[in-house]
């Protein structure tokens, strides 16, 4: 009960957490029921092409005569899926590498820390481009694989640093003295105090995945026949949407990406602040509170 209260307090007291989770919730609802919100079939090419915004087509139509609003709404699902799946796998990998490096120390730590740093400094986007250019099979899981390979190292580094700071604390020493196994100590003693940092890392990786996937699809390295925000941008760019008077075709999916990105980033910062109280915004003490503290009722 206490824990539920704590979580509730976190979401209501932090503005960042509140706004971020509301945005994410709204997107989740859209993801769950796209056909309920989308006014038309997003792939139907049966409306007058190149229309501006109107009552029947709020965001206008594409050069192929598709409804832009419906495409944005239906495209939500793929971005959400990529955020969730890549974020999850990246986090698992970061925790495995970062925490076990810190726990075992010595040569294992040296090797894992080195590997993490090497992956971290190799510029990811060119690497992703090279891999996807060779792998012509434009499927979803390949995209996920590439994004996970390139996305786990940042989190692993952060988690390792935090786990290192626990290494000589009493609660770990006593667990080891009780004769608990390594895995028990890692999972039940080390991970719980790191929860907020782990969640922050999940959100960071999810944000990275959404942006990188959109970029890849934009340059034509994804499956260009799926319904997603990145492929909308690809088709808009290829039909010179900006120069031919259809700016909304290119601008709307970008704003959609930014809404998802903002919600992830806001939650990310909120959890970061939870993990590191020094970053929290200072609250000026209200006068009423102050007078209570002083004990002056007047």
């Amino acid at each position: 009960m206490n824990r539920v209260k704590k979580i509730w307090k976190f979401f209501t007291s932090s503005k960042k957490a509140a706004v971020g989770s509301l945005l994410l919730l709204a997107l989740l609802v859209v993801t769950a029921f796209p056909t309920f919100f989308a006014p038309y079939d997003p792939s139907a090419e049966e409306y007058i092409p190149r229309q501006g915004p109107s009552i029947s087509h709020w965001l206008g139509t594409t050069a192929f005569g598709q409804d832009i609003l419906s495409q944005v709404i239906v495209g939500t699902r793929q971005s959400m899926l990529i955020a969730l799946v890549v974020g999850l796998f990246c986090t698992i990998l970061s925790v495995l590498v970062g925490v076990s490096a810190a726990y075992f120390g010595g040569a294992i730590d040296d090797f894992l820390a080195m590997a993490t740093d090497v992956i971290l400094v190799i510029p990811t986007f060119p690497l992703i481009i090279v891999i996807t250019a060779y792998a012509k099979a434009n499927n979803f899981w390949l995209l996920v694989l590439v994004l996970v390979i390139t996305g786990w190292s940042y989190g692993a580094r952060q988690l390792r640093v935090q786990a290192l700071s626990f290494r000589n604390r009493d609660f770990l020493q006593s667990a080891k003295a009780r004769g608990e196994s390594s895995w028990y100590v890692i999972i039940f003693e080390m991970l719980p105090p790191m929860t907020s940092l782990i969640v922050a890392n999940f959100l960071g990786a999810a944000l990275y995945a959404v942006l990188a996937a959109a970029a890849l699809q934009f340059v034509g390295l994804g499956n260009i026949n799926t319904q997603s925000w990145g492929t909308m941008l690809y088709w808009a760019q290829n039909n010179e949407a900006l120069a031919t008077g259809m700016p909304l075709w290119a601008l709307a999916p970008g704003i959609a990406i930014a809404v998802l990105g903002t919600s992830l980033a806001l939650l990310n910062y909120a959890f970061d602040e939870l993990a590191n109280p020094a970053l929290r915004p200072i609250r000026t003490l209200k006068l009423s509170k102050l007078s209570k503290l002083v004990g002056n009722k007047s």
């Binding site: 080195m114 400094v121 690497l127 942006l211 990105g261």
Partner: protein, 327 residues
Amino acid sequence: MKFLLRRVGFLLIALWAALTLNFFIPRLMPGNPAQAMMAKFHGHVNPLALKALEVAFGVNTHQNLISEYFQYLGNTLTGNLGVSVSYFPLSVTSVIAKALPWSLALVGVATIFAFAIGTVLGAITAWRRGGILDNLMPPVFIVVSAFPYFWVGLLSIWLFALTLGWFPLLGGYDETATPTFTWGFIVNILWHAVLPAFTIIITSIGGWILTMRNNMLTVLSEDYVKMARAKGLKNKRIIWQYAGRNAFLPNLTGFAMSLGFVISGAILVEYVYNYPGVGFMLLQAVVNEDYALMQALFLLITVAVLVSIFISDILTAVLDPRTRVQT
């Protein structure tokens, strides 16, 4: 000395990892697409160049993987990166040499601007904690950082080039102008660089502001800052000479670490603006199935990032004795 050796060792290991990745990626893919490209290419190219390409992609070679690997390493280290298919018969190195100055100038200048402005703004934000800037800046840049880099480029093209007509639309310079060393042409080049540079600065500045702010907050709570205040020193002096200097150093390391992200973003910015740099060339190479050029560009970008990280590491060590002490 030990520190320097460690950094050199790391640089070498990272370089080796990048070279090895570059070697194995085409070989791990099912149905090596380079093979199809090579088939088209047979008979159009002198046998020596063909041989280099074959080694690079693992096509038609009857050697084992290990001797192929060493031959590839030798070729790469001696600058023999093969022939470009899309710019045939030019060698990959000469094609890249044309694009490189554009990227160095654009990305280099934009990054230094973003870093300098971001660091100053971050320091001020932390000092005036709870002030207007501190309340406004983080949320604004959280939102900005959530936009895809290339989309910010699209938006600025639409707004400043197409709608307002303030800046040229695409390219590195006016196609009708003859490239000469005249004042007019240089202005033309700068004019074309404004929007791409603006896009890179806007999208990367938030990161510098936030990290500098956070470093500064930690430093400001130190005793020597309190002491400086107690002594009644001027705020300006405390910010820049006491706190700023110490907060800036970890930011320099952060600069190195996030350089890869900036370069990644710059590739897309060049793509959006058809800017004639290496990023645009990389994506063109992908479209044209020019694998030799593509892999050479990947290596070049990686080496550039690794060397910059190395330099800023050494710089940090020279400026900050604390990093030299830690093991």
